[in-house]
Symmetry: C2
Subunit: 105 residues, 2 copies
């Protein structure tokens, strides 16, 4: 089960793709078909694909154990090739985050 | 505990604020100080504030029970006023999503 919490020890990457609606499903299919590549990188926890109902965004919400794990993955040739292919689908806004606050009823 | 899953019955809103680093903490403080406003709307589940390590983004990852709940909240005067004030901090990219796929090791 994927959880969001303020606990230390999780690095969150949020990658927002802006695309034409006809590309949305293709990008999701590409990322799902190649999911073994991130999943076999040490320190990878989860990737969670979100599709906007208007068709114009795909958000990948990704959790890593640490910045070191992300940096190591970023040097893996398969991982680099996959990220490059994904980037060819659409412009994307990639940032590294911490969870600052959670509010739950 | 906030969880991400493909289960039906959750509508996800992802709101990405692009801002100057000196504004990042102020926006988070504003949203935390006013958290009672979304939390008392029927159908609100959770809001999860993420701050980019480079200072230039705040991502609010919000869960609602349904689209109807979000639409009802969007007509609440306190909620409207808060959203308007938040929008004055910075340009933001607001979309409504479903969870298309989760991959977890």
């Amino acid at each position: 089960m994927v959880t969001i919490s303020e606990q230390a020890g999780i690095l969150t990457v949020i990658n927002v793709f802006t695309l034409e609606p006809e590309q949305q499903e293709r990008l999701v299919d590409f990322l799902v078909e190649n999911k073994e590549i991130p999943m076999r990188q040490p320190g990878f926890i989860s990737a969670n694909l979100h599709t906007s109902l208007d068709g114009t965004r795909v958000v990948n919400y990704i959790q890593w154990r640490s910045r070191e794990a992300l940096e190591a993955a970023s040097k893996n040739p398969d991982f680099i090739a996959m990220a490059k292919q994904a980037a060819e689908f659409a412009p994307h806004d990639f940032h590294v985050y911490k969870v600052a606050s959670t509010m739950e009823v």
